[in-house]
């Protein structure tokens, strides 16, 4: 809902800035910014208030129903609504009781619950700083923000508390209702049981034999192949297949995996919030004048938190699930997994604070964390490696499934890469540049790409429910990836002072990358072959498909960028930024989302609402295209302009509208992550909503188990 309101606002606000073709004068120190902020806060409060009101009115109407005579009818209604299994259980219970002649009275315990009385919940924030010149003062602004933070946090907390209280109250009422229902069912005269319920059961159990035309074998959906909508009416979103439950996963491992994925989702939201703000700074460079938030300091915070926080934790979390699965044994040590999670989170938290405080390693991209911080990350990697290898060592399968090839190698290589990048013995003068080229590209290709491919080799066949097209093609891709990818680092420094031969090796290696990329893409697409129809009723497969498409286009674009002739146009421009988003986002993030949506429902038994999964998918995809396509087009023009020897500022002026598009696309991407975070919450949160019918049956069963502890059925 919120996004629907915000998007048109953005669209109306941005073009105004574009027309001037110069940076916007937007600043958080201006009055408009505060008005906007107030507007957003007011909007959020309004939404919260409306939500609470809905809940309260639902509750009160329910409560009223309780009081009326019609309530008797309700109980009858429930009785009518009992499904076949519940009737069966009820009948069994009744039979047993009459058999034993034990006229027990139900023992039902109600937990007494503290109830928050929803007092003045629709109160607005009292903060409305008057628009005096005082507002321009930094100290005042900080004070206002400091006041606003606890107030807003308090309001959010209050909303949650009230909402919880309402839920509890509702559940309490339902429990009462359940008790009454149980009592009612208990007291029903036998004739009624026989007449009404048994008939009802028969009616419920009745089904067409479906052999009227086809013969005597009943057609039943014993394999769960039919996919029938539970919702009456027109479906708003296409109905997709539900995830299949996997009951045999160690709850401890399940908890660990969920924590990894939850942390990853947090870092995604954090890192892209920073990224979104950086994108806005290209359009409004005077948005703030705070040293900790200046562009140069925040940029590495963005890249490092999405790299080491989001993607790395996401991958390792999924790896923790896959390695024991494909080795057919338990995880070597859950504890090691927790330690690794702790160290990596610590690295990203400390690293981000350091970067914002101006403490960084010296300017090499993705190597901005100083060594003590990166050491924490390295420890996390080493612990994960031990855990994976030890699990694989005791596997009960003969072969090592290809996923493990990719994932374990990725961790080993990344440890090698980090050591190469942080050991000071070869970092003086141009040595630093050569290592930097190697490091920044191996980090991307040997860590994120290699590991993610391993994950896809597990989850894609699983989601398509068929084996991978060619195991050997996967093996070819594995070895050629090592051979070619290792060479290509220095293509980031073509035409620089590093040796010409090394540049040439990098360019040749970039050409060679066509082999693993084409092998991998072919393998994935051929696995899809014959199962394309599955895309339309799955919500994970579209993510996989986008990932595969970008795996091919993004990687081949990288090859194209490496040649000397294209370097002339694209090097140093935003083309590189577009490319890195096509790959890190289009490939890695889409694959990770696909796998997360595949695995989390299996662990928790809960799925995200389809409509928000759809919103996540489409906003991420459209946002990515809005982000990258204009940026690639604009930076090509800019490169040509440089080639023609035009003044530098002409290029900056040229980029203005494309930077605006980048900010718009970035906003969509960011919103999609809000949806993703919400989906994660929906999939993971423990619901305690009481289902009246099943809880009544449960209570009855509990009673009968008191009566006959020995008997089991």
């Amino acid at each position: 809902m919120k996004c629907l309101v915000i998007i048109p606002l953005l669209f109306t606000a941005f073009p105004l800035w574009a027309q001037g073709m110069k940076p916007s004068a937007f600043s958080f120190e201006s009055k408009e910014a505060w008005l906007w902020l107030m507007l957003i806060i007011a909007l959020m409060l309004l939404i919260a208030a409306v939500m609470l009101k809905e809940k309260v009115s639902a509750l009160t109407s329910n409560y009223k129903k309780h009081k009326t005579e019609a309530y008797k009818e309700k109980l009858k209604e429930y009785t009518q609504q009992l499904n076949s299994k519940q009737i069966e259980q009820l009948l069994q219970h009744r039979n047993k009781k009459s058999f034993r002649n034990a006229g027990n009275i139900l023992l039902i315990f109600f937990a007494s619950l503290f109830i928050f009385l929803p007092g003045s919940l629709i109160a607005q924030t009292p903060e409305k700083p008057d628009a005096s010149s005082l507002l321009g003062e930094g100290g005042i602004i900080i004070t206002i923000i400091l006041i606003l933070i606890p107030i807003l946090a308090g309001l959010i907390l209050l909303t949650i508390k009230i909402s919880n209280a309402i839920n509890r109250q509702r559940n309490k009422m339902r429990l009462e209702e359940a008790a009454k229902l149980a009592e009612y069912l208990e007291t029903l005269p036998d004739e009624e049981i026989n007449d009404v319920l048994k008939k009802r059961k028969e009616a419920l159990d009745y089904s067409l034999t479906h052999n009227e035309l086809s013969g005597s074998e009943p057609a039943e959906d014993s394999r769960g192949l039919l996919n029938i909508s539970q919702e009456p009416g027109m479906p708003i979103v296409a109905i997709k297949k539900k995830a299949l439950p996997r009951p045999n996963i160690d709850p401890a491992l399940s908890r660990l995996v969920l924590w990894y994925l939850g942390c990853a989702a947090f870092w995604l939201l954090f890192g892209t919030t920073i990224g979104e703000y950086l994108g806005i700074k290209f359009v409004a460079p005077d948005a703030d004048h705070v040293s900790w938030l200046s562009f140069g300091r925040l940029r590495p915070v963005h890249t490092n938190s999405v790299f080491w926080g989001w993607a790395s934790l996401g991958m390792l979390g999924l790896g923790n699930y896959i390695v024991p699965r494909v080795s057919n044994v338990k995880m070597y040590s859950i504890k090691l997994g927790w330690y690794a999670l702790f160290f990596i989170n610590a690295a990203v938290i400390i690293g981000s604070v350091c970067l914002m405080a101006g403490i960084n390693n010296g300017g090499g991209e993705y190597r901005e964390y100083i060594w003590p911080v990166m050491l924490l990350f390295g420890i996390g990697l080493a612990l994960s490696l031990i855990n994976y290898i030890k699990t694989i060592a005791v596997r009960t399968t003969k072969e090592i499934y290809i996923s493990n090839w990719y994932m374990v190698s990725a961790i080993i290589f990344t440890i090698v890469i980090s050591l190469t990048a942080y050991i000071p013995s070869w970092q003086n003068g141009l040595g630093e540049t050569i290592v930097q080229g190697y490091y920044m590209h191996q980090g991307v290709g040997m860590w994120f790409m290699l590991f993610t491919l391993g994950i896809v080799y597990y989850f894609l066949p699983q989601q398509l429910n068929k084996p991978i097209y060619s195991y050997s093609l996967g093996i070819l891709a594995f070895w050629t990836q090592i051979l070619f990818y290792t060479l290509i680092g220095t293509h980031h420094f073509v035409f620089s002072a590093i040796p010409w031969w090394l540049q040439t090796v990098a360019i040749v290696g970039s050409g060679g990358m066509a082999i693993p990329v084409i092998a991998g893409t072919t393998n994935f697409l051929m696995t899809f072959k014959g199962a394309w129809y599955k895309i339309k009723d799955s919500y994970t497969l579209p993510f996989f498909l986008v990932g595969i498409i970008f795996y091919f286009t993004g990687s081949m674009q990288g090859t194209a960028e490496a040649f000397r002739s294209t370097n002339l146009i694209w090097h140093f421009t935003d083309f590189t930024v577009a490319h890195s988003h096509l790959t890190m986002y289009g490939i890695i993030s889409f694959f990770l989302w696909a796998c997360i949506y595949a695995v989390v429902p299996r662990l928790t038994g809960k799925e995200a609402p389809q409509i928000t999964v759809g919103a996540h998918f489409w906003m991420a995809l459209i946002g990515l295209l809005f982000y990258t396509v204009p940026l690639m087009y604009g930076s090509t023009l800019k490169g040509l302009l440089w080639l023609n020897g035009k003044p530098f500022m002409d290029g900056v002026k040229l980029m203005e509208p494309y930077w605006l598009w980048r900010a718009i696309g970035g906003t969509l991407m960011w919103l999609s992550h809000v949806f993703f975070a919400y989906n994660m919450y929906k999939m993971i949160k423990r619901t305690n909503e009481v289902d009246v019918k099943s809880s009544a049956i449960q209570q009855l069963e509990k009673d009968s188990s008191f009566i006959s502890p020995a008997k089991s059925y």
């Binding site: 005077d286 300017g363 072969e399 890469i417 190469t420 003086n428 540049t433 421009t573 020897g645 500022m649």
Partner: protein, 337 residues
């Protein structure tokens, strides 16, 4: 196969292969370059202030947008007089116990290259104003404003470096903008960024991918300036201070529109200012020796003069390269060493 089913052999082989390739393309070339390159004989050591400035440059992530490498391609010619060489970076060593070497070559050029910015933009006043808020002097700039490197004082003392900032950028605050030590360190580092001259007799490496110079048969004034484009030269060398509209910035850089120097008869003064800089007026910043730094030819100087004399409503006398040549030979004697 047994090999693929033994995790030690499989991962051991993959690791060996990766480490071997890493040695070949990264570690050994890095060591080789570290051992076999030396600084040019004329290279100057960073001053103590510049060292502190470099630390600030690193801390604030300036390398995210500013490269420090002149590539050996023709399009990079505007950033330096020669392509950068391994020797230019050879003197850069590990920063300290916590931080790695910072060659600061960069991979993005959202802002201009800084390899030779000490020569290209030597004016301290311009740099300070620009640092306070780049949009004061370059209105389309998207560079962050580093106003936190400045303080505002009601009555600055004698030793304070006062920066002339237009009132609208002070957000209603009263007083004078004073550069902090950090701002001065950062400027010191920027001004130290000058390409070292190659030792005499060394052949200059070539710029590749030369642009084909279009020889347009144009008559009139353009032909007289022998191909030099006055407007392009002005944009590249003069506009950042004197501004596109020729009005300069009150309190910082003088206007050329209606300027007595531009429109007057004293051509010698005019050429002298272009070639050797100017610091005769208290109310304005110091002008660096732009012409000498950029090794302007008489064609280029006369093109600039003619552009300035015929723009923004100016209507001055046209000059020829010959006239300018005579004066240039004369004023060369005043050139700063």
């Amino acid at each position: 196969m047994e090999f693929f089913n033994n995790h030690k052999k499989l991962f051991g082989t993959a690791t060996l292969m990766f480490v071997g390739l890493t040695l070949m393309v990264a570690i050994l070339p890095a060591i080789h370059n570290q051992e076999n390159n030396q600084q040019l004989p004329g290279a100057e050591k960073l001053s103590a202030d510049a060292v502190k400035g470099k630390a600030l440059f690193v801390a604030n992530g300036c390398v995210a947008c500013h490269t420090q490498q002149v590539r050996n391609v023709d399009m990079d010619k505007s950033w330096g007089s020669r392509p950068s060489l391994a020797a230019d970076y050879a003197g850069i060593k590990r920063t300290d116990f916590w931080r790695n070497t910072a060659t600061l070559m960069g991979t993005e050029r959202t802002g201009p290259d800084l390899t030779d910015v000490g020569n290209r933009q030597p004016s301290k006043d311009w740099n300070l104003v620009h640092l306070f808020n780049p949009r004061i002097v370059v209105k389309e700039s998207v560079m962050p404003a580093y106003s936190w490197l400045f303080t505002i004082k009601k009555e600055p003392s004698k030793n304070d470096v006062v920066v002339n900032v237009p009132a609208e950028y002070l957000k209603g605050k009263e007083g004078k903008v004073v550069a902090t030590k950090d701002a001065l360190y950062l400027i010191a580092y920027l001004q130290s960024r000058k390409q070292t001259k190659l030792p005499d007799g060394t052949a200059q490496p070539e710029f590749l991918y030369k642009r084909e110079v279009k020889k347009e048969a144009a008559g009139g004034a353009a032909a007289e300036d022998a191909g030099a484009n006055g407007q392009a030269l002005f944009v590249a060398n003069c506009q950042s201070c004197h501004q596109e509209n020729g009005e300069g910035l009150p309190g910082a850089f003088p206007p050329l529109k209606g300027s007595p120097v531009v429109l007057g008869d004293d051509l010698e003064l005019y050429v002298n200012i272009i070639m050797n800089g100017y610091d005769a007026r208290q109310e304005y910043g110091v002008m660096p020796a732009v012409g000498t730094n950029m090794s302007f030819s008489e064609n280029e100087v006369s093109a600039i003069i003619n552009y300035e004399r015929s723009s923004w409503g100016n209507n001055g006398k046209h000059v020829t390269p010959e006239e300018v040549k005579k004066i240039m030979d004369f004023v060369k004697l005043n050139a700063p060493k």
